[in-house]
Symmetry: C2
Subunit: 341 residues, 2 copies
């Protein structure tokens, strides 16, 4: 398979072709992914999620720029951006403007940007995203930024792909945002308040800190030297022991780059924490297990569907429509060979 | 099963107990749902979705009030509100304040409100929501408002439960919102611009109208008297033939009730359209098929998992972690009894 060798050697065109094959779930794409898989496991996967209107895309651009142009003594890293939009189930196209991103990052061979929209099921999007990330990883991209538009379960699932998850907030986004925070806070490794020059930033910060404190008695319990330990979240402000991680809150203004350097430092600090505590490896295991289970489920259902007689399905379905069978009774009938009533 | 009789006779406490059993997916809950199923199919299911910050909850409250206190000549309907929050995968609790809703609607026996958070998989939430909606339907609620927080794939899937889907927008919610609109517009039966007293409402309306027009050549093709017909979306402003539905744009201010009466009229008009064109029935079929497929998939995977030896799974999984097998090779090994390499 020539294209695999070329992808491993850094050829952009071959990589772009492979990404399309992965997105289309072709036989060639599947074979190439299996061949590339032994070369994966080196990249730092960074998930960026949060509600609409928080300026995630600009922040991701700034982070990419930061990793390409780091402070001296740190070598520049190759950066891939995967922008996932689960809210576009129909279009199949990428909604986020690559054009806009390209203005800042164009021409840099150490940057690769791929936008992805959902083409059907969410499980499908998670599978495809995982494949695309593996391709970038094998191709030698050291930083992979996975950005999701929106803040629902889909985004949570995709964020679980990452070693480090950034949850982005912004001041003054209305009441529903509070509701979203409640669920999404629990996956955050780093909390970012973007648009920090807006009025209301103190309120947002206070709200986040309160939620961290509230979450603390239940959530902020860490295994430390073999025993469980409860850590007051207030020490998030003071230097942390490396075995304990409390999500720091970082203010940024993506438009002018304020706070991006510090955010990059927090990301590096989180990576060091993961490596020291063995979490780097355990998050990798969790990610691969989720991928295995997703793929198993998908394959299982497809095989069963291929073995089913369409007439039998139709017959049972009509009984469901007539309300002679309930949905669960219909399932029993299809799987056990006979309706229960 | 005593509780089923009591639910059918309108007993609120029995209904509340049943809803908990459905949410917990108990054996009693499953049995009761099968027994109630023949009594379903009467309610008008109305999905309400849209980005955070658009004021969906207030609008849903106002709509509930509208259906309870309609203009004379229309009888009041019994109204259930199902508030689904897929962005809370961990809490299991309902995030939206029932307390807040209750202030307006408390004490009315013709209103029942249930908040639901995701307890694991999205497929699980869709299954549970479907069961809760069936219980309300069987219990004689004529209007069921299904509100989802957020605007991702999860919300789209849940909106598909409905006969009529309202997509709520609001002026001035930032650029990401535009991206969301692209996907979500295609599921809208009625577009609502809430907070229509805000500045920027003309821009929002113009943007929506442009998107409707852009979507038109592809989307706005209807089967009419047996042949395909393309209808310019500009006639959305003029009286429509009942066989053609172009999503109207309705401006509202949920806080003071402006436009809610008109929105209620649009909903009634959409119902009449669905009934006249046979879409009422076909949407019901689509809904039941989606539920059947979801339940089939879930049952199939659970049965396979129960039959699998944990040692075998662990052995293959370790080979995946060592990167001796790719995810797809691991699936082949698990399903076919031997690794391919």
């Amino acid at each position: 398979m020539a294209s695999v060798r070329e992808v491993l050697s850094g050829d952009r065109l071959s990589l772009a072709r492979l990404l399309s094959q992965i997105e289309n779930d072709t036989i060639e794409g599947r074979a190439a992914l299996s061949e590339l898989f032994p070369h994966t496991g080196n990249a730092h996967l960074i998930g960026v999620t949060g509600a609409p209107g928080t300026g995630k895309s600009s922040l991701v651009n700034q982070l990419a720029h930061h990793f390409r142009h780091p402070p001296e003594s740190i070598p520049p890293r190759r950066v891939a951006i995967v922008a996932v939009d689960p809210s576009s189930p129909f279009s199949g196209g990428a909604v986020l403007g690559d054009r806009v991103r390209m203005r800042d990052l164009a021409g840099d061979p150490g940057i690769f940007i791929r936008s992805m929209a959902s083409r059907g099921s969410l499980g499908g999007l998670a599978r495809t995203t995982s494949g695309v990330v593996q391709a970038f990883d094998a191709a030698g991209f050291e930083i992979i930024l996975i950005e999701t538009v929106g803040a629902g379960q889909a985004e949570v699932d995709i964020a679980r792909l990452a070693h480090t998850t950034l949850v982005v907030e912004a001041p003054g986004l209305g009441d529903d945002i509070q509701a979203i925070k409640a669920g999404i806070l629990e996956i955050a490794d780093i909390l970012v308040i973007n648009k920090a020059d807006r009025t209301g930033v103190e309120n947002t910060e206070r709200a986040l800190r309160t939620m961290l404190d509230l979450a603390h008695p239940i959530q902020r319990v860490y295994r430390h030297h073999g025993s469980l330990e409860v850590v007051p979240s207030s020490i998030a402000e003071s230097p942390q022991e490396e075995s304990v991680w409390i999500p720091p809150i970082q203010k940024t203004i993506a438009l002018d780059g304020t706070g991006v350097q510090e955010l990059g430092d927090q990301i590096a600090r989180h990576k060091a924490h993961l490596e020291k505590t063995g979490e780097w490896e355990s998050r990798g295991r969790t990610r691969l297990q989720a991928e295995l289970d997703n793929l198993l489920q998908n394959t299982l259902v497809n095989r069963w569907r291929d073995s089913l007689s369409p007439e039998r399905y139709q017959e049972i379905f009509e009984q469901l429509i007539e309300r002679n069978l309930s949905p669960r009774q219909a399932v029993d009938a299809l799987l056990n060979g006979g309706p229960r009533r």
